[in-house]
């Protein structure tokens, strides 16, 4: 009995000793061994954030996609497997054989394959061939805004454009979890263990509007193709907010296939600084008006189109004599602009160009912006100052041009441009550059460029006042001389009197036509027209084109209910620089259906005085208690703002009439 008891005690004691040894002495070591056997580290990377346009349209999205890899040592018969894999992946057999022949333990056979190919691989059931899930980036609109969006690499990191600039925000975060696995190595869900943390990258919302971007790309492509240009760019900005609505580059770049059109991924709007040409004259006018070097009525002699300044010839397209300031801009005289620049002086002009943002980056959160070239004024000789006055001898990118034009449209106040709505983009504070009346004066001059017999008549939209400036810059050769290659551009506003959209189109090296008013202005018009229609801001009145409608028929129209006299209502066809453009007639007569019996003409809505003599128009308007502002020279009212049929401005009844020679 004692012996038995002793044995039990010894066994019991031995068990306790062993338990103590296992649990306490070797406990941590054994625990670690067990953990290695039953648990495995699992790496997880959150999905990359999405990119949206301002309307919430999806521009870029990541999704899981299969990639296929091979462990050659596990392959039973590589020779037999090669044609099967090639058929499953739709690859050449020779390529698969080459890949399988590599002396490696792990070979990527094909990455980011389609679901159908992945299914083919599963159905093939080959040993040593594995599928693994990776993340792939898709751009559902194809090449739309391709250069702006940029693209990601195979491992999902942003390499260009918004994808690169916002890498930190868009990229999903990495995390390591502990997963339990069974004897055969299958992973099991252990517990949340930090999975409650959201690893997904944040979304980015741009200010771009995919629809307007599409308009811009279509019009730009048409312009570059029609005029045999090398490249082109188009920029659309919402004037009141500075939001960039479209940023188009041609040739297009499809970020879904970055390696197939690698040479096109550069966003030229950011990276190309070109000599702006005559589009810069608007800035010169504003600076000269601000410094009171000129007024609207100051006249300059344009030397009949040829002028020699310190041994350098300066030419105008068409020889002209004395011109007032507004007509210098309207006809885009280089000679008179040079004279204004010389009167203004290098330092003052340079200061204003700096204030408008030339020579410095625009502040957009994209990488690789070219700040352009604006040499210090002390290095400017008179001929340099003359050249910069008409936009040669300095360079600027499209964003800088947009920023400068927005100063004019925003009553002399400089607002920053914005490309990203969410997360909030860091923007520079606003600053005042010009007096309000200076900005208004230049804007009126820009309206004349389009609405009168200026160089920009091809940018006219019937029923909408346009404003803008043409640019035709000579390109410098590698030797530093100006050759026979040009950059055609047009900077326009719609509507010209209350700008909503700023549109800038540049076509590089068009030929044989190379004038901005011919090459770029129609593209600006097209973008403006479609953008206004898209926004529901086109006037609804009937608008006739001269070639469609017989003038007699127009004159014969009568709007009896509203007692509008139509005797002289036809608008005169105005030709610009012999280009045969601008033969539109606008008859905003949508009133009868919409407003008959509801509004009283003149009291509630703006009457139509176009086509009347100045005296009759002023008499009629005085009858409604309105004293109009008169612009231009001539005896007949060619255009009015607000348009006929529009309600009067709420605060003050103001009407502007543009005159032309009858």
């Amino acid at each position: 009995m004692v012996l038995l008891g002793t044995c039990v005690l010894l066994i019991w004691g031995g068990l306790w000793y062993r338990a103590f040894q296992v649990q306490v002495v070797r406990g941590p070591e054994l625990q670690a061994m067990a953990a290695r056997q039953h648990k495995a580290a699992e790496f997880e990377r959150g999905m990359r954030g999405e990119i949206f346009d301002r309307q919430g349209r999806l521009l870029a999205k990541s999704t899981g996609i299969q990639s296929v890899y091979v462990r050659p040592l596990e392959l039973e018969d590589p020779e037999a497997a090669a044609p099967v894999l090639a058929a499953a992946l739709e690859m050449p057999v020779s390529q698969v054989r080459t890949l399988l022949g590599r002396p490696q333990n792990f070979i990527w056979l094909s990455r980011q394959i389609s679901d159908r190919n992945a299914r083919n691989i599963v159905n093939a059931g080959l040993r040593g061939v594995y599928l693994t899930e990776e993340s792939a980036r898709f751009y559902p609109h194809g090449h739309l805004a391709g250069q702006v969006l940029g693209f990601v690499g195979l491992d999902g990191e942003g390499l260009e454009g918004v994808e690169k600039a916002y890498e930190e925000i868009l990229a999903g975060r990495k995390a390591t979890f502990v997963a339990q696995r069974d004897a055969s190595g299958r992973r099991m869900y252990l517990d949340a263990q930090g999975r409650e943390e959201d690893l997904r990258g944040r979304n980015v919302t741009l200010t771009l509007d995919a629809q307007i971007q599409f308009f811009a790309e279509e019009a730009l492509a048409a312009s570059v193709k029609s005029f045999n240009g090398k490249t082109g760019m188009a920029l659309v900005v919402h004037v009141p907010t500075g939001d960039i609505l479209a940023m188009a580059n041609y040739p297009f770049f499809n970020p879904n296939m970055p390696r197939q059109n690698a040479e096109q991924w550069r966003n030229r709007i950011l990276s190309d600084a070109l000599e702006p040409g005559s589009t810069l004259k608007a800035m010169l006018m504003a600076a000269a008006l601000e410094e009171r070097v000129i007024t609207n009525d100051t006249v300059y002699y344009c030397e009949e189109g040829r002028w020699r300044l310190t041994g350098v010839n300066i030419r105008d397209v068409k020889g002209r004599g004395w011109l007032p300031a507004n007509k210098i801009l309207r006809y885009s005289s280089n000679i008179c602009s040079a004279k204004i620049g010389l009167d203004l002086g290098a330092t003052r002009y340079h200061d204003y160009l700096r204030k408008m943002g030339f020579g410095e980056r625009s502040g957009l959160p994209l990488l690789g912006e070219n700040p352009g070239l604006l040499r210090p004024p002390r290095s400017w000789y008179p001929v340099d100052l003359a050249a910069v006055s008409f936009g040669q001898g300095m360079s600027a990118n499209a964003l800088q041009m947009a920023r400068a034009y927005l100063v004019l449209a925003n009553r002399g106040v400089m607002h920053p441009l914005r490309l990203v709505r969410d997360p909030e983009q860091d923007v520079a504070p606003i600053s005042v550059v010009f007096r309000e009346e200076v900005a208004r004066t230049v804007m009126r001059m820009l309206q004349e460029v389009v609405e009168e017999d200026g160089t920009g008549t091809q940018a006219r939209i019937p029923g909408v006042i346009g404003a803008g400036k043409t640019g035709t810059a000579q390109k410098a050769t590698a030797a530093g001389r100006y050759g026979d290659r040009y950059v055609a551009s047009f900077a326009g506003f719609y509507p010209g009197d209350q700008p909503e959209y700023f549109i800038y189109v540049v076509v590089d090296e068009p030929h044989p036509q190379h004038y901005g008013g011919v090459v770029a202005a129609p593209a600006v018009r097209d973008i403006g027209l479609r953008s206004l229609a898209y926004a529901g801001k086109l006037p609804e009145g009937n608008v006739f084109a001269a070639h469609d409608v017989d003038q007699d028929h127009i004159q014969g129209l009568a709007v009896r209910d509203l007692r509008v006299e139509r005797g002289n209502l036809d608008r005169h066809a105005v030709s610009s620089d012999g280009d045969g453009a601008a033969k539109e007639f606008a008859l905003p007569d949508g009133l009868p259906d919409a407003l008959s019996g509801v509004f009283e003409l003149g009291k509630d809505v703006v009457p139509n005085v176009t086509g009347l003599s100045v005296r009759r128009a002023v008499e009629r308007l005085r009858g409604y208690g309105v004293l109009p502002e008169v612009e231009g020279g001539g005896g007949v009212v060619s255009r009015q703002a607000p348009e006929p049929g529009q309600p009067w401005p709420p605060q003050e009844r103001r009407l502007t009439l543009w005159l032309e020679v009858s």
Partner: protein, 100 residues
């Protein structure tokens, strides 16, 4: 006196037997429960992993469908369809806005 003491000792030892047996049974039940709970937990872990995989698959599919939908609704595709159906862009004067 001694008979009473013997009876009391006997009672005490019976109580110990009962208590030990009860504890043993409880231990056994608890042990079995732990094993059962662990088996259930593993089953659930497999099931959850499957559901997780299924969820990821469906999320991926939804993402792909969304991309496809946006591709079908893209302006360039609508433009192509419009041209195929002989629709063209409205000119100024052809647009009427309907306001409520």
């Amino acid at each position: 006196m001694s008979a009473n003491a013997n009876a009391s000792r006997k009672k005490q030892s019976t109580g110990w037997y009962w208590a030990t047996s009860l504890l043993g049974i409880c231990g056994l039940i608890l042990g079995l429960t732990v094993v059962w709970v662990n088996i259930e937990r593993l089953d659930l872990a497999y099931e959850l992993k499957q559901l997780q995989t299924e969820l990821e698959r469906k999320n991926d599919l939804q993402a792909k469908l969304e991309v496809e939908r946006m591709n079908l609704l893209s302006s360039s595709r609508l433009r192509t369809l419009a041209e195929e159906n002989e629709l063209r862009q409205a000119e100024p004067g052809q647009i009427r806005m309907l306001r409520p």
